[in-house]
Structure formats: C-alpha cells, structure tokens
Point group: C2
Chain length 463, copies 2
C-alpha cells in the first residue's frame, strides 16, 4: 500500500505541507463534538503521533466517532501547519477508512498503566509510548553494534546455541533433548541412555560463545558474536533473565590494552548512535524514566575512561568500608555497591578495573607474572556498575594446562581449545557485553523484563 509514514512527515515536512497525503496507523485517542472530532494516530514509525481532524462532512462521521482506542485507520487528507499548537502540523481528513476496529475491552486505555500490568500483555505493550521507545532503542542499539564491528572489518560469527560442553557449570544450564520424558530410556546400568537422544549425547543451551569465538579469532583475527545465551539460574531479580543476548568480540594479536580500547570505542559509538537516531525516545526516557540519563550518557561519551588495577581499587575502597554492606578486602569479588562507588564517587567517569585475583576469575584468563592475578578487565560505568567483563586469554599451552589441572578440569574435554595454543597461538583478548544490560543502561529502564520483547524468567514463559 502506498502510505506515507509519520516519520517521513516529521523528517521532511516542507515537502508534504498543504499536500494531499495518505497515512495509516492506530488510534491512540479520539474525541468528538457535534460536528467535528480529533484523532491522535501513531503508526509505529515515529515516536510522535499525528493529529487528524475530521468533520461531519464525512459520510461515516458517526462511525468514526464511535471507534475505540486501538483501532487501525487509513486517513487521506491535507497536511496543514498548526503554528499555534504544540504539534507542528495536523491532517485535515477527507477520508477516514476503518481498517480494523478495536473491541471495547481493549486493554490499553488512555491512562497510565503500570509496567507490571503491561508485562501481562506483552503482545500489546509495544503499542505504548514507553515500549515503543524501549524497543526502537533496542533495535537501533543492535544495529549500532553490528555497524561498529563491521566498519572495523570484524567478522560476525554465529556460535552454536546447542552445545555438548558444560564448561561453566552444568547446574545452571538448560538441557535440550528429544527423549521421551514420560519414559526416559535407560542403559543396562540404569543411566539415561543419551545414545538415543537426538545428538547421541547429552546437550544443553550455551552460556557463552567465547570458546568457539576464539577459534574464529585465530583464523580471522577480529571477530564478534551476537546471539542468545541462556542461564537456568533460579534467581528472580530485576537483572536476570533465563534467555538473553550477548555480544562477545575476540581479537587476535591483541592484549588487554587493545581490549580496553575496543570496549571504550564501542560503548561511545553505540551511545552516540542511539542519541543521534532516537533523540525523541531518549528525551522521553530522560523526562519520564530516569532524570539524569542524557547527562550521564553524554559524560561517558566525552570522558577518557579511567584505568585502575583491582589491587589499587581495593585500597581506595577499603578507606570507605563504613559505607558498604559488604566490606572490601583483597581477594573478594567487587559488589555493585563497590563498583558504583568507584565509578561514581572516586573517578566520576567510566573506569576499567584490571588484574583481578585469579581465584575469582575464569580458567582461561592469562596469568600475570605475579602468579596471583590474571589479565582480566571489568568496565564500570556510573549508574550501573559493571557493564563489560573481559580478559586477555592464556595463550601458552603449558600454563593453560597447568591452570586447568589446578582447577580439576580435563584438557581432553577441551581439545579444540588446547589446539589453538598448539598451532599458531597468538596473544588475544575479548570481552562480553550483556545486550539487555546495555539497553537498560541506555534507557534507564530498571527491570530486565521491560527491555526484552517476551522475557523468560523463572516460572515465566508466556507467548
């Protein structure tokens, strides 16, 4: 159908003023008096709606006036400037065609609904202002991330979702199976007979694409993943979802410093892209969701990120232990309260904390010369704390094998990963960005359920 979008009208109004145009959209509100009426229409292409003025000269005046909120209409008319009104223009309708009526029990009436209520109608909530804004920003952010990496020649790798490895603890993974749950086949010694499962072995949903990603970095040099990951953690918080998206770049011939430069450039790029491409939405968040949002993001873009080692950071934090619920000392993992104190109070800008104790970090991180710390890095930002976690990877076969043995892991289970250290190993590094946490950061939304179209959490898998 040949319809103009409301975005086109706003972006190029000079072109359309005083012209006859046709648009389609959904009724946000409608009010009428005896001989004329006003309809506010949103067509989903632009944050601002469009006002339609109609009069009893239209044959179907009565029918139009009886429409409910949510109805779909197609309006033909003239776009006229409205210099006295808060909106820049309106359509004076010559024709209002009802494309699809809306039943009187439409759940989104013209009033403020709570986010809790809107979560129960996840198929309709994108029709509200807040969720129009959230999910447009989500889309733009995803694209900004692709654009950032592609413009730098990174290769996008689809690492697998179904996996037979359980490197980060099988207890938190979802199992994937085609076995008959009513009657699970067993072997002679009473174990589940996974030989009969679809893949001939036990499989789960991945918790990270990193190890697979590393294999491609050792071929393409710079790669990134962007795909779903899963955690079967039984934690019912505002920050955990069972299904979420992650971005995991991996760079070869690169060390921790290169990793930090990449992370800083990426964050700045993404924030800038979203602020430029969704200014109306960002203004909305700044007014109605999180008052300091735009200032905070602008501050991130214009700051040089600070750098501090974990050891130095702990020294700084120990002086303020009276302020914390969890007291800090060398060796403990930093909590959000510590991270936020560092970035908000001490540095007043984003900060990279590096070189964490090996015992609180993963086996694959590169051991530092002190043999106590590893070349890990977390990026902390004001308002949220950790947003990115990464490391330089252990690229030395012997050191990696020793560390794995120390942790009771078998190198045989990771033969492909060991191979990377055996055949043309390079220093390399990478990080992970939780996509939803990034969206929460960009929008000020405080519950992860409100930045995922159809969230999956404990006991919740609707639609």
């Amino acid at each position: 159908m040949d319809l103009l979008t409301i975005r086109e009208l706003y972006k190029d109004q000079e072109k359309y003023l005083d012209q006859e145009i046709t648009i389609g959209g959904w009724v946000r509100s409608i009010r009428d008096s005896k001989s004329f009426g006003f309809i506010v229409v949103n067509d989903g292409t632009y944050f601002q709606p469009l006002q339609v003025v109609y009069s009893d000269k239209l044959d179907n005046f009565a029918e139009i006036s009886k429409m409910n909120v949510g109805a779909a209409i197609i309006v033909k008319g003239t776009l006229v400037a409205t210099p006295q009104a808060k909106q820049p223009f309106e359509i004076q309708a010559e024709e209002v065609q009802i494309e699809g009526a809306s039943a009187p029990d439409y759940p989104l009436q013209k009033k403020r609904h709570s986010f809790e209520y809107l979560r129960t109608i996840s198929h309709l909530r994108p029709r509200t202002n807040t969720f129009q804004a959230v999910f447009r920003v989500r889309s733009l952010t995803a694209y900004a991330i692709h654009k950032f990496f592609q413009e730098r020649g990174f290769v996008y790798v689809h690492t697998p979702l179904i996996t037979a490895s359980d490197c980060e603890g099988a207890g938190e993974m979802f199992q994937v199976t085609t076995l008959d749950m009513d009657n699970v086949p067993k072997t002679d010694d009473g174990k589940v007979d996974y030989a009969q499962d679809f893949f001939g072995k036990q499989t789960s949903l991945t918790v990270s694409g990193q190890l697979n990603g590393e294999t491609y970095a050792q071929a393409f040099r710079n790669i990134y993943t962007f795909g779903p990951t899963f955690r079967a953690e039984n934690s019912n918080t505002t920050r955990h979802a069972a299904e979420f998206w992650m971005i995991e770049p991996e760079i070869a011939f690169a060390d921790l410093e290169d990793n930090m430069e990449l992370a800083e450039a990426m964050l700045k790029y993404v924030i800038t892209y979203v602020m430029e491409n969704a200014p109306e939405e960002m203004k909305f968040f700044n007014s109605f969701v999180d008052k300091g949002l735009i200032d905070r993001l602008e501050n991130v873009v214009s700051s040089d990120f600070a750098r501090v080692t974990y050891t130095e950071a702990v020294e700084m934090l120990e002086k303020h232990n009276d302020k914390f619920d969890y007291k800090v000392s060398w060796g403990v993992d930093l909590q959000t309260e510590h991270e936020r104190y560092l970035t908000e109070q001490v540095f007043k800008r984003p900060v990279f904390v590096t070189d964490y104790p090996k015992d609180i970090k993963a086996f694959y991180m590169k051991m530092n010369d002190d043999n106590k710390t590893v070349a890990a890095v977390d990026c902390l930002v004001p308002g949220i704390g950790e947003i990115i976690g990464g490391s330089q990877r252990e690229d030395d076969y012997e050191k990696l094998a020793a560390r794995m043995e120390e942790l009771g892991m078998k190198t045989e289970d990771y033969q492909f990963y060991m191979d990377l250290r055996k055949y043309g190993s390079t220093r390399h590094a990478g990080f992970g960005l939780g996509f939803e946490r990034c969206i929460m950061y960009l929008t000020g939304m405080s519950n992860i359920r409100d930045v995922i179209p159809f969230p999956r959490t404990v006991n919740n898998c609707e639609l």
Copy 2:
C-alpha cells in the same frame, strides 16, 4: 598491538609501498634455500595472502626456516612492489618474530583437504581458503540484511527462543528442561510434573518467530526478526540442520504485492552488497566451487522477478510431466525439480508463485475469495528453487477462527494471536528467509554443514 592488516595493504597500497610496516598473521606456506626464504602469510582480514621474503641476515634465519605451516608470526619490513610477480607486492623482512609456533602434526598441511575431513576439525577449517571465503560472506550477508531493513526503518525484534507454544507440531521440536532426567518427577496420575520444571510448564525451542513478530508489526508497522530457530527433524540431508538462523520480516498495512516487492528488493540488495564487498571471495567461489555463480547472481539482480499463480504454474508444469520424478497436478506441493524447472526453463529468472491451495499451507494464511487458495507466495530462484516463503496473513477474526476450527486447533491456545485481529487488525504480510539457504545460494556451497561454523545435525554436536 599496532599492526597493519593485509586488507589495508591491498586497499591502499600506494600509501604503504616502500614504507616500513609491521603485520601479523599465520603461515600458509614456507620454503627456503640456503640464504633466503619465502613465507606466505594470511592474517584473516583479506582473502589474498602476503608474501614475506627473509634472508640469512636475520639472526633467527634458521629458526624461521624450521617453522611449520600454521605458525603465527609478526613481521616488520619494507613493502616493495613486485611488478613481475603475480602478487602486486611483498614484504622484505627486517624482523620475523615467532608469536606462536605450530606443532608438526598441524592438521592443515599445504594440500587440498576434502570438505568431509574439514568438518571433523571445525575449529581449524576457517583457516582454509574456502572457509575464509564462506564465513566472511556469511558475516557480510548478515550485515547486509540488517542494513537493508534498518535503512528502511524496520525495527529489529528479538523473538524468544524458548517457547511454550507448539504451533507447528511438537514432534519436531527440541524440549528444554531443567528436570532431573535420571529421575523425572511425576504427578499423582503418573504424568511428568512440569510444574517442577524451570518455567513451571513444558517448553521447547522455537521453530519460527513469526507469530510473535506479528504482534510487533501491529505496533511498529514494519519489523524483522533475525535469530536462531530449531528443528528436531531426523533428516540427514545436505540441506537440513537442527539449528539454523532465519530472517522473518513482517509488514502491516501491506498485502501480498507489498510482500513480494520487499522480498525482491531485499534479495537484490543482499546480492549486490556481497558482490561489492567480497569480490575476491566471490571470484574464488565462481572458479572453484560453482562455475556459473556470478552470472546467475548478476542475472537475479538485473531481472524483474516474474509472477505466476500456483494454478497457472501447475498448468505449465503438467505439460512437462514426462520430465519429472513426481508428477504435477493441482493440489500437490511443488517439489524442487518443479520449482527449478519453472525458474530455470520456463521463466529463466526468479519467479514468485502465489495463491497456493489452502490445504498445503499454514493456518494463518489469508483465504482468497475462491475459498480454495490462500494468499501465499514462494520465491523461486535459478539454481536452488524456493528461497523464500511467505504470505499475507488472515486478518479477519472470524475467518481465522473458522479456519483454525477446521484444522482442529483451539483459539484459546492462541489468544494473543487472536487479539491482534480483535484490536486494530490491519492487512499484513511477511516472509521467511532461511539464512543458511541464502548463504548456500550466494556461495554455491552445496552442504549446509559447510556454511555453519559449528553445525548441529542428527548425531552431531561437536565443539
């Protein structure tokens, strides 16, 4: 690290000729004589490798000469033009530093390996010419798809992977569970007690994001999904994988004609983008994988796609029934042999086949006035047959409910989907593009296992 990429050298050679530069990469081949040697290096950023010349003036001449294929090196030297050679330039090395040696049993020796063998080392195969080309094209294609939709204002929607609905047949779905398989909890009446499962109900991996996608099209007008989908089909063919990626745009205020225009524009855009951004890779495929590839793709870009109804197509095909294994008659689903005959022999260009019998298509497709056919469309392309399948959706509540009842489906199970027809329904349409099939089409690769980094198929879930 401050290394130039081989891509930069090729793209801007004037700038670097006769300059001292440093590059890093992996040894593809090495040969030496008494006092000098040649190394062919690939750094993963460009399809063409770089030749390094080194001599016994280097302290580690002997060590360099002993390197195995696959070693990682960092080379400092001068880039010099080589007008007599097939490659445009080479590096005369002043320093060759071995970043990571390669063990003598490196599985990728300088000879041609079969695709079958390479599948057994999926972590190393991206280091070969063919798979460098395949996976760079895969990355570029993904980006081209995002770029196409984002430039047109489409909103990218992440539809869920874990789902409690089983609209397209639970038999082909993977179950997702955290129940203890060794000891599946049962209710009093002996059924699996899914109340104890992570989501409190039975869940599976999605086979399509379409129904969820439609909810967002009724809010944003134009949306697309791009994410993984799963089929637990026990079919061991060259075209089926258990885990693959799909693109599913959905457009509101749009009919079948709009849908076809979108599909045609998208295919042309993606082909053009890949040919422009991976010319070396495409030339390689055209020479070594599929001789007619580039001609065929160029023909698609420059053709107006043909349009024919299923009924007309069947009439055309029936005249040639002697040529087919499966005979054609009205009512049967078209096989690949028929599809290819239509697009390659009859039309000699891509063709949209529309208005299929309702009985061979899905419940949500819009019923035509004849009450026999639905507003479905398949896009057929030379060399492959069907590449895209889509339809206009049934937007009338009563007609949809009647069709579902006819098929024994319960509207209560699809309440959210029915709601879209109750509150501001619009004519709308969409299609699905299997991403891997698209990559096979663009590269000429004939086995789906060779276009997925770590393929998952029956009895195969490695790495």
